[in-house]
Symmetry: D2
Subunit: 352 residues, 4 copies
Amino acid sequence: MSGLSLYSFAVDTPATATQQWLDHFDTTGTTATLQHLGSTPVIVAHGPGTETPAPDNLVAPVAVVAAGGDFRLGRRELRPEGTVVRVGGATVGDGSLNVFAGPCAVENRQQLLDCADVAEHYGAVGLRGGAFKPRTSPYSFQGLKWAGLELLAEARAHTGLPILTEVLDPRHVERVAATADGLQIGARNMQNFELLSEAGKSGRPVVLKRGFGCTVDETLAAAEYILAQGNDQVILCERGIRTFEHATRFTLDISAVALMKQRSHLPVMVDPSHSVGIPALVEPVSLAAAAAGADALLIDVHVAPEQALCDGKQALLPDDFGVLMGKLELLSMGLSRKLAGVVGAHAVLAER
Amino acid sequence: MSGLSLYSFAVDTPATATQQWLDHFDTTGTTATLQHLGSTPVIVAHGPGTETPAPDNLVAPVAVVAAGGDFRLGRRELRPEGTVVRVGGATVGDGSLNVFAGPCAVENRQQLLDCADVAEHYGAVGLRGGAFKPRTSPYSFQGLKWAGLELLAEARAHTGLPILTEVLDPRHVERVAATADGLQIGARNMQNFELLSEAGKSGRPVVLKRGFGCTVDETLAAAEYILAQGNDQVILCERGIRTFEHATRFTLDISAVALMKQRSHLPVMVDPSHSVGIPALVEPVSLAAAAAGADALLIDVHVAPEQALCDGKQALLPDDFGVLMGKLELLSMGLSRKLAGVVGAHAVLAER
Amino acid sequence: MSGLSLYSFAVDTPATATQQWLDHFDTTGTTATLQHLGSTPVIVAHGPGTETPAPDNLVAPVAVVAAGGDFRLGRRELRPEGTVVRVGGATVGDGSLNVFAGPCAVENRQQLLDCADVAEHYGAVGLRGGAFKPRTSPYSFQGLKWAGLELLAEARAHTGLPILTEVLDPRHVERVAATADGLQIGARNMQNFELLSEAGKSGRPVVLKRGFGCTVDETLAAAEYILAQGNDQVILCERGIRTFEHATRFTLDISAVALMKQRSHLPVMVDPSHSVGIPALVEPVSLAAAAAGADALLIDVHVAPEQALCDGKQALLPDDFGVLMGKLELLSMGLSRKLAGVVGAHAVLAER
Amino acid sequence: MSGLSLYSFAVDTPATATQQWLDHFDTTGTTATLQHLGSTPVIVAHGPGTETPAPDNLVAPVAVVAAGGDFRLGRRELRPEGTVVRVGGATVGDGSLNVFAGPCAVENRQQLLDCADVAEHYGAVGLRGGAFKPRTSPYSFQGLKWAGLELLAEARAHTGLPILTEVLDPRHVERVAATADGLQIGARNMQNFELLSEAGKSGRPVVLKRGFGCTVDETLAAAEYILAQGNDQVILCERGIRTFEHATRFTLDISAVALMKQRSHLPVMVDPSHSVGIPALVEPVSLAAAAAGADALLIDVHVAPEQALCDGKQALLPDDFGVLMGKLELLSMGLSRKLAGVVGAHAVLAER
């Protein structure tokens, strides 16, 4: 549907006031529905009533935005200052650079606690780790599942870091959301619309990974499935797309990072580890992502990559992660930004 | 895991006989598990016991096949004659060419019955139609859902054609499978592994569409999720991949049709309509798919494409579908094959 | 430039008659230039004079066609019956199916004569063979160059087959054209515009291979560089594009074959051998190309593929080429077409 | 050919010393050839003589490097400190960040001089501008050709900036090289091997743009065509590849920048303007390229983009270019690098 108008209202606008708008549109033969961007009321209207001045007795909208159709609640014009997504104590989208780190998969108690210690030690603001793993083959390790989720909770208690973990099945969302600080929707599930809606209903922050065969427009449309549930705590995550170039595992679409920041008010994360699949490239690509404007990075770190049950070969060793954090801190200064959660990481560099 | 050996046994092999093999492998320090390709027992073994002759008292396997790891039950070597998948009365994989036709989405009773009549009139062996529609945007028509499924059942009663319809949510599989003759897994869900497993458990034939960002190898691995549930009634469906070429909606990978036929015993379907997205290209691409060896075609047909709620612009008009069926019948003769379900469709050509 | 009109005139239209049109356009403030599609005069006009009726004394055009800008002389509307390209005695574009076969590279006298014999024996209408080879690396075999061209001429004398060979350098065009019956522009040179112009000027038929990173629109635009020199003897050749799928060497874009046939009057060739890079896929893909409407096929055949200096692993063995020709003959019947140059090739099939 | 060994020698090694090595290899049945990486002798050897210790009387090589075959002289191991390419007074590859700026095409004297002034004013180290333009269509503006080259020379005299310009035809190389400080090989010509060889022979620095359908490996192999002529003054340029994502003109492969830096000793340039085709994305993508390790940037700047005859819509306005230079200077500090040719550009930022 083209020719939509979005009317956004102040957060504390009473329902009676937005109802008056709906009534007004109704009398002018204009289709209108009330949606919510988090706690911001947004009326989506289409028809003649959007062309004429509204009666004076209606509460003034904060903004009126023209929209094409599929991309509505995520439009930057609705929230020019950007959305801040809170994952535990981390604030993604406030201008700072936030690093979430940890192993690709939770493998056992010791591995996870060791990786979590590394993440915490070098200043990550959150711990990543997969309990449910979507694997190309049914014969590959599928994750520790619920037991893995318990271990993640233990690692959180141990380090104080909020935990971010993937959810695969709409039937699991409620239970995973009861424990995790943030839900991750993997690239293979970006267009698993039932899963997106359930994640939206959970109320938890959601990291939505771009499908490796999906466009930026489709990614923004997928985010609408979550936003449409009244959940505005969405982080878009670029993690590489499929191209003819196989020297790296995927091709990180660095322009998409900037493009999503410009088009949407949602914060943007980048996953260099899965994009490139080669440890030696994680550092330069992480620096590039930060320079392009990414709000957060998702970094695979493993204390013994060679023993990893899943994607180990792309994980950084603890020391290399420390060097990366130091470089990110220095780079942030050059970008007039701040690396969240870290004081003096760059001192690591000096020690070497 | 590399260096696997697959031992397939005759269909009526008693469990005691395969258990003897498992015991034998156990004593030789060999990892072995029993799987089933439909009703064919297959032991997957890895270890020294695969290198030495087996004791004479063990029942002889029908075949022993070396496998790489992710691709096991679908390998053509396990069933060189190919698998025949029965969707209602249609037999896909027996060398004949089978056309499933119908509207992209079920929109209303009259539209569906009219389309079903067209499909039946020109010799389609099955009716396609979406009740649950996966849409890029939450604001697009999402299908009639359960009511659409009821209409499909009515269209089946009306025409006698078996019905093929998409399932999106693992929570829906059992109920959809109770009505539909065949389940379709859409391209966006090819790596929705929970859904694949549920579809496998349903026992219904499953059309597995290749993800538009996924490789042939990944498609074959996804089929394993269904096969591993003991369900060998799987049809692989090529429906175009994402490439830089946007003159067509997707790029139909015609080589993949031949490649999947050579690597796997599963029949292969092609969806020209969604691949190209342009009615004028559906005919030549359908002919090409048949010539490349496709066992089945999935064709969008609509009595009023301009009114369609979903993907209407790519549907064939009834007359054009009739011409296509006539050309497919003639082509089949040139390929020493038979167009299933049709007698004299090519006479349509002569009338024009 | 948008809003162009193309006025095509009968082949024998005198220059004075087209000059009157140019004068007329000049007086109406309309930009107009005279081009030639082979021997067909075409005036390209832009401006107000295209909106008003022309004076009665002007010779009537055969057709007036609206054009977008980049794609002009190749438009099907200018020659709805299609262009026939003559390569030696072969007529490509007359509805028949034409097979050009031979080795990827000319390697030595005996290899070439043996391959030429095979091509001739099974009914190919022309011999392919590279004397100048564009190689990714400077350290690979670069072809026998002028000596290779001499051998091709000898093979022509030996078999009577016209020869088709690649030209790489604008400085070579005249000399290669003096010997070869048809010039081939390789995929890497599709946008080597200096080379295209020289090939156009040579007057020889030109096989223009689509660049593996280029769109259909760009291919049609590249053909204009040749057509604009007054040379309408151009064959467009689909040979696969670069995609994320690496199970085959390139991804043959079968829809592009049909699309180019519909948009352009130029005949279309397909090169299955270089597209797939796997001998076992050449047959099904060749059949598919013919069914999609290709006018010609370009097939790598080699008497000893394992000894080939270039791309040998994709070449068909002589026997397999014979089987393919038999199947193409039968398929052509099913398509109501004729395989050129062959009588009874399908008998080869019966012998097996 | 696999299993090669590369022996590099000190710059002043006399020919007699390398000849002794060649003689030694000859006596051991080892194939060996002498190449030059600029003025560094490199012997490429294959055979048993590489497996055994060399006689003591032979001059010791600086390094012995194992190579796969296609990628030889460009390998980083041959020159771990990296190659510095001098374009006029600019030194690309010495750790500094170098910006070349200017219009896509030379259009007229005033436009070029104005753009050159802007480039010089904000601290660019070189002026870019196309005199010969490779255009998809023969009906588009093809550049001012030799007259454009004259204007570039005038702009150099006016600003002191060295000039970088594209060459399209092997027949033009010598004459263009007589004027230009650096030659540019465009993406469409990356595998125009005749042109690469001529550019190599010219002795001028060469910017080799990656083909938009070509891999990193193929780009490195193409560079060998230039290097093999004894010319080591080669800059590799990433300018985006063709992918399914069309929100940007091409997809900048940021990982390739880091990968080429790691694999090769050649400096790497990035062309953000042509990659993205959208002015608003040029700044973030330029910052990202610098952070990923690019040695140089190529930026389209135009004083009146809306009047440009070629690709104007992607050019930065002078003011926006000034802001970018300021941000690059700050970023460089965060990367412990230096923006070449600029003192205080970041002060531009403060003024706004």
